[in-house]
């Protein structure tokens, strides 16, 4: 048995896939804007996990990318939550079923 080049790569990628799928499923199925938002974070972090796991093979650039994603995610969280707050003030609800102003 030789030392594996990237220990736990397989499980890490598997976990990332599971997390991402959970996120997608959440976005598709849930109607609450807050939950939807959390699911998006979940997907982002699943991708972060993939980056970190693969950084073992490809060097530090993957890890750097993770910081960028976290920064953007933070900004997105700030803007997104503000929007949700505004929507709630306007409609007294965060149920996405009721928010269809863009219907053609």
């Amino acid at each position: 048995m030789h030392e594996p080049i990237a220990p736990l790569l397989g499980p890490a990628l598997g976990l990332s896939a599971i997390l991402f799928s959970l996120g997608v499923a959440g976005v598709l199925l849930r109607r609450n804007a807050i939950v939807l938002f959390v699911c998006i974070e979940l997907m982002l972090n699943a991708v972060n996990l993939t980056f970190v796991a693969l950084a073992q093979l490809h060097g530090a650039s993957g890890q750097v990318m993770v910081f960028f994603v976290m920064t953007v995610a933070a900004a997105e969280a700030a803007v997104g939550l503000a929007i949700i707050l505004a929507i709630f003030r306007h409609k007294q609800s965060v149920d996405l079923q009721n928010i269809n102003l863009l219907r053609g």
Binding site: V24, V27, L28, L29, R31, L36, L96, Q97, I99, N100, L101, L102, R103, G104
Partner: protein, 657 residues
């Protein structure tokens, strides 16, 4: 020789007059005094220039036309057209007629139109007309002539519809314009053909090249001349395009005298005389010209017999006399045609201006008594001789002239045309028929003119007692030009006295350099001796009997006033309604055209195809596509995510493959 180079001045003076009067017409305040000086003044100046040019030509008669190139116009691969004027014997005659008679009519207009609110506009149009008429007779090639040809048509339109607030007048203007367009099409086609066959549009070059290039009597020269003649039938009001001229009487009477009697309508005769070499080479076309002329002369004369509007009688008389001119030029007697053109300009302008003076007086009388009777209906006149002696006597002279009573001008010119047609009969017997038509038309001419004079000036007055007191002779500014025209109408014949009264055909000799090219192919030998005297005697007899019968027939019965007059019946009704030709054209041409325009072109093509299918159709298609696209936009985030996911997976699959 030098004088000819100043010919541009003759055009420049009226043009300046047009600009000045046009500017004055735009001012709110009428400038009657300035217009009265500028309007006729520029014409007199132009007349002086033309007289100078004529005297120059008399002093040194040129053998070929003096061409004055002003500037190059179109130089395109072989086609070389300059804006050039041509001074020769024929254009000199036309110059004198146009500016001479034009000056007199301008002077008359000062009296006739002075109180009209559009006084300055009137003189602007009238000056512009003279400009174009001079360009027409001076053009040294067909395109320049065509500028004038179209320009006089435009001015004719503007002046017929001068009182355009009345729809009938505006319609008459449009009618004249459209009918002339049909003829103009013919002139254009003739130009194209000439260019293709001869490679030139210059009159001098046409005369030089045509005999060698074209086959005499061939199809091509016949086609060219027939298309040219189509233009003449439009401009000179011959069958089948004559119906606009009687309607053109809607314009002011001096306009009828200038444009629709003396000058513009004779442009067709001028064109035939100018291109005489082509017509001489095409005997069939010449026969058509003479035939149409003869039939028109007869046809229009019969209509004139039963018209009641004094101007309508004169209008049909003009159509008829133009027919005579075409009989002349169609019989290869180009000088005779031009001769009748000149004398007709004198006596017909006199008749029209006399009629204008009568209408002026009648109008004032009705105006003073607030009557709404028709001031042009002869049934409302009668006995005017007592109140308008000068007009009466001058119009009597013109009547004798048009009826062909010697020694007045019309006698000589009409006689020469009839003699020419008779002489041509020796070669082509059909010309005997044309001659017969001409003689009958001469009789009818005398008859309807006597009727006009009798109804207007003789017999008992139908004007009404109150109105009669307001009737008065026209002012001197109107009777003065009448007097001059009266003198010309009497002595006009001297320009071309025949040999049997001791003359030597001066005009014919004068025009010889112009007609020489055509004379090679067709030349008229006038009859001599007993035949000549028989023809002349017959013509005089016909005229005298016509006058007498017309006078007797009109005064035999009491003429009822217009509002009491019974409806005409039978043949009189047909003649009064002008053989229903207008109705026929309306049914055959106007209504089908309107139907085609309304039902097919408007409702079908415009509203159906263009608006419906093309414009609204494309809008409807875009809207449909937009509707389909908008169904995708549910506003539900979930749906977007599903679509997004499906798309992403699909792309992923494509990338991995």
């Amino acid at each position: 020789m030098i004088a000819a180079h100043w010919v541009w001045l003759a055009v420049a003076f009226p043009l300046a007059g047009f600009l000045v009067n046009g500017a004055l017409a735009l001012r709110r305040k009428p400038a009657v005094q300035a217009v009265s000086i500028v309007g006729p003044g520029v014409l007199l100046a132009a007349f002086v220039v033309c007289a100078g040019i004529y005297l120059g030509l008399v002093a040194h008669p040129p053998h070929q036309a003096e061409v004055i190139r002003l500037w190059p116009w179109m130089h395109v691969s072989g086609l070389k057209v300059d804006l050039a004027f041509q001074v020769d014997q024929l254009s000199a005659v036309m110059l004198l007629v146009v500016t001479g008679v034009g000056s007199l009519i301008h002077l008359f207009s000062v009296g006739y139109m002075r109180e009209d609110p559009g006084y300055a506009r009137y003189f602007a149009y009238l000056n512009l007309f003279i400009v174009f008429m001079l360009v027409l007779v001076l053009g040294s090639n067909l395109p320049v002539l065509f500028i004038g040809w179209e320009g006089v048509g435009l001015c004719s339109y503007l002046l017929i519809g001068f009182w355009f607030t009345d729809k009938a007048n505006a319609d008459a203007g449009k009618k004249a314009f459209i009918m002339n367009r049909i003829g103009d099409f013919g002139v254009l086609i003739a130009m194209f053909l000439l260019w293709r066959e001869l490679g030139t549009l210059d009159f001098a070059q046409i005369a030089a090249k045509a005999p060698g290039t074209l086959e005499a009597g061939g199809t091509i020269v016949t086609l060219i001349t027939l298309f040219l003649f189509l233009g003449c039938t439009g401009k000179s009001a011959q069958i089948p395009l004559y119906t606009w001229l009687p309607d053109a009487m809607a314009g002011p009477t001096p306009v009828s005298a200038l444009i629709h009697a003396a000058t513009m309508v004779t442009a067709g005769v001028y064109l035939v005389a100018r291109t005489n070499v082509l017509f001489a080479m095409a005997p069939i076309s010449s026969a058509v010209v003479a035939g149409i002329g003869a039939v028109t002369a007869l046809f229009a004369a019969t209509i004139a017999l039963r018209q009641y509007d004094i101007k309508k009688v004169l209008a049909y008389s003009t159509v008829s006399q133009l027919g005579y001119m075409f009989v002349g030029v169609g019989s290869a007697a180009y000088a005779a045609g031009v001769f009748h053109l000149v004398t007709h300009a004198f006596f017909k302008a006199l008749l029209f201006l006399g009629a204008g003076s009568v209408i002026h007086a009648m109008h004032h009388a009705y105006h003073a008594t607030h009557s709404h009777e028709d001031a042009q209906d002869m049934r409302n006149m009668g006995g005017l001789r007592r109140s308008m002696p000068v007009t009466f006597w001058l119009m009597t002279l013109a009547t004798l002239a048009i009826a062909g009573i010697p020694p007045l001008s019309g006698f000589f010119s009409k006689d020469e045309i009839l003699a020419s047609a008779f002489a041509r009969g020796a070669e082509m017997p059909i010309y005997y028929l044309f001659y017969a038509c001409g003689v009958v038309a001469a009789f009818l001419t005398a008859f309807y003119m006597a009727r006009l004079m009798a109804m207007t000036f003789l017999g008992e007055s139908r004007v009404g007692a109150e109105e009669s007191r307001h009737l008065h002779e026209a002012p001197w500014i109107m009777t003065g030009p009448l007097l001059v025209l009266g003198v010309l109408a009497v002595i006009g014949g001297v320009i071309n006295l025949p040999t049997f009264v001791g003359g030597h055909h001066a005009l014919e000799t004068w025009l010889e350099p112009v007609t020489a090219a055509g004379a090679v192919f067709a030349k008229v030998e006038l009859p001599h001796g007993s035949t000549e005297f028989l023809l002349v005697g017959g013509a005089i007899l016909v005229g005298a009997v016509g006058l007498l019968l017309g006078y007797r027939a009109t005064l035999a019965r009491k003429v009822p006033a217009a509002k009491e007059a019974p409806e005409d019946t039978g043949m009189a009704r047909v003649l009064n309604r002008k053989y229903y030709v207008d109705e026929l054209y309306d049914a055959a041409v106007v209504r089908p055209t309107v139907w085609l325009s309304r039902v097919v072109l408007w409702k079908g093509v415009d509203q159906g195809a263009i608006d419906g299918a093309a414009v609204n159709g494309s809008a409807r298609v875009s809207r449909g596509l937009g509707w389909v696209g908008s169904r995708l936009q549910t506003g539900q985030v979930g749906v977007y995510v599903v679509v997004f996911l499906v798309g992403a997976l699909w792309i992923l699959r494509a990338v991995i493959r």
